[in-house]
């Protein structure tokens, strides 16, 4: 009976990702957070090192690994910073997989391969100013005009949105006509086209280093080959995308929760109060035991999810469960870690305070807690 889902090859990969993260990412995260920005060469370096296409087939410019290789990558960046994990995961688990899954060879050559090399930056465009989780209600619209599409509308809360070279976007191309999920299509929207603008970079409470943008499209003329997949299948295609997205954020979310737990354990071992390390007080040690139990349990659930995904099983129920469980876990564990560190947990720029802020986003982005519950209730046949 195998105890670990990882092979020796994965262990070697973990070592090389960790070396990169520890040397080139971790030391700069505090400054990037303070500046509300990070350099694009994070993508080019990750691409050079082969980290952006770990689980993509070699024919598409990837490394042909299994999903556990991607798990290794997300865990190693997730333990350092939820924000960096998010921006990288937008590239590897959100913007690019639909191109592989639904794209033509030309689209793979033009967008996917350079993205996996880190030469192009992608983003995923679903949410709009008036609609988030309710994908069917999107209003951004593309209208056919000869062999072009004319795109109008706006997208909001788009991670990597201000720096992206392309947005993998869901857009309305027709009327629902009986099927509320009908009339939606996906496009690869090049951000350099006339009429595309970043109307605002949002100032957020957490994950400050990442750019979260409001995008505006005003008569953007998209060539016919910008259509990704089948016209009218966009809803189904974006639901597929959301599965990989939710597993990805679950993986780095658990890794982050484990990292803040470890920080709290370390602190409790050295910080003294009333003559002994606070970890020797039973109330503190029991809190840490509870946190560790929750982390272990949710990680077990996430790994089962990863295993299903790796075997090509489309497990909507397990994915929604993992997403919901991880969002709550990281939020709660980070909060308990802040409590354990006391004043030190509230210092701006500290690891714990930064991750505590960032982890609150996990319960909102990628489909809120409530949306996951709604999905589950439907699958359970009770809603």
């Amino acid at each position: 009976m195998n105890l670990s889902p990882f092979s020796e090859e994965h262990d070697l990969l973990r070592k090389s990702v960790a070396e990169w993260v520890d040397a080139e990412i971790a030391p700069h995260v505090p400054a990037w957070e303070a500046a509300g920005d990070f350099p694009n060469d994070v993508f080019t370096r990750a691409g050079e090192l082969g980290f952006l296409g770990l689980a993509f087939p070699e024919a598409a410019g990837g490394h042909g690994g299994d999903y556990w290789a991607q798990v290794v990558f997300l865990e190693e960046v997730g333990r350092i910073s939820q924000a960096i994990a998010m921006v990288l995961s937008v590239q590897t688990d959100m913007a690019t997989p639909p191109i592989l899954e639904f794209g033509t060879e030309d689209q793979i050559d033009r967008w996917l391969k350079p993205a996996l090399r880190g030469e192009l930056i992608g983003a995923i465009g679903i949410t709009e100013p008036d609609t988030g989780s309710d994908v069917a209600a999107i209003r951004t619209r593309a209208v056919r005009d000869g062999d072009h599409w004319v795109l109008n509308g706006s997208k909001m809360y788009i991670t990597n949105g201000a720096r992206a070279d392309f947005i993998t976007m869901v857009v309305r191309t027709g009327e629902p006509e009986g099927d509320p999920r009908g009339g939606i299509s996906m496009f690869i929207v090049e951000t350099g086209l006339p009429g595309f603008s970043v109307s605002e970079k949002l100032d957020k409470a957490g994950m400050r280093l990442s750019d979260t943008a409001v995008l505006h499209m005003d008569d953007v003329r998209l060539p016919a080959e910008a259509l990704l997949g089948t016209e009218g299948d966009g809803f189904k295609q974006i639901m597929w995308e959301l599965q990989g997205e939710r597993i990805g954020v679950s993986v780095f979310g658990v890794a982050g929760a484990r990292a803040v737990l470890d920080e709290a354990i370390g602190y409790a071992g050295v910080r003294e109060a009333f003559g002994s390390p606070i970890g020797r007080f039973q109330a503190v040690s029991h809190r840490l035991a509870e946190m560790a139990t929750e982390v272990e349990a949710v990680q077990a659930l996430v790994y089962e999810c990863c295993d299903l995904w790796n075997r090509g099983i489309y497990a909507t129920e397990e994915v929604a469960m993992a997403k919901l469980a991880v969002g709550q876990l990281s939020h709660q564990v980070a909060d308990q870690a802040v409590q354990t560190l006391g004043g030190a947990g509230l210092v701006e720029g500290s690891f714990i305070s930064r991750e505590w802020l960032g982890m609150r986003i996990g319960r909102i982005g990628g489909g809120s807690d409530e949306v996951q519950r709604q999905i589950l209730a439907r699958i359970m046949g009770i809603a």
Binding site: D66, F281, S285, L376, I382
Partner: protein
Amino acid sequence: MSGLEPLFREEHDAYREAARRFVANEIAPHADRWEDAREFPRELFSRVGQTGFFGAKFSEEWGGTGPDFAAEAVWIEELSKGLSFGTAADLGAHSQLAALYIDRFGSVEQKERWLRPSIDGRLLGALAVTEPGAGSDVNGIRTTARRDGHNWLINGSKVFITNGSRCDYVVVAARSSDRPGHGEITLFVVEEGSPGFSRNRIDLIAWHTSHTGELFFDDVRVSDAHRLGDVGAGFRHIMANFQWERLMMSLSAVSMAEQSLQIAIEYARERHVFGRPVIGFQVWQHRFADLAVRIRTGKALTYRALRCHIAAETGAEVPREQLVRLSSMAKLFTQRMAWQVADECVQVHGGAGALKEYRAQRLWRDARVGPIGGGTDDIMRNIIARTLEVGAG
């Protein structure tokens, strides 16, 4: 090779189907009646034994079909579906505790005498560690075993012994010297009918069908052939078996929680308020979704611990600390979870939740034992905290 190795193989599906049939025919239809009578027939042990469901974790040499702990897990999960948790507790105390102790620490003669007939369900066993003054603190037991030539004289009392007031033999932990410390505890097998051995059944608010007992030993004389394992090895043996006990309780609690949720949802569909079924309200839909996530999470953790246990049982190098941590975490997580799910099951029933004619209150009462028995939640937290190396216990 990467990925999670499947825990269950095809043969386990067949075993599950057989176990499901057995429980559906031999336990579930009688559960309510047994509950009212606070009794289940002793013959159930021999039925379980004859159909082979005590045998999965024991080798063929002694009449088992294993050892196969994945199959044992299947039996435990299915047994919970009979919704007779006192019955399941007694069957478990017999097989998961008493018989397993004999299997692990007994001599060939002892296995012939107590294990073989336990596996076929003719002889009923129990394990007696807890005392009026010592539960989770095993080292605090005061029952003594004093050498008397080739015999031992046992004195003391035990309490909350599941299956203890009906069993044919009981594995007793006693202090075998006057010195303090856990190196002075030894295990003995005491048989029913031994002069000086007496017992009572205890009335619990839960597990109504269980023969949970208090046992008294007044100069009970047993020969050295009744000593199980080495003198002074008792504490180590008890600790070693705790991991499986916690895992078994976790498997059982997860299955129980699944039943509670199903019963809750069924009721929410039937019961109408404000002109629609309770299930039509989003708060209940979402609450049930949350409970389903907690159950599934507990199951994933339990299965992770079970993989670890099976790996260790089949000869893999598993750090003992990892096994201890995972099984303790699984126990801590699942027992409270099962009780919370049962509590919401009562809640959705409204006033009917308090009625004896509904199963909700029974599940709720029975689930409450979980965070206490087999090492309390606080003990689990102490153990887990120790493995995290954060100090205090």
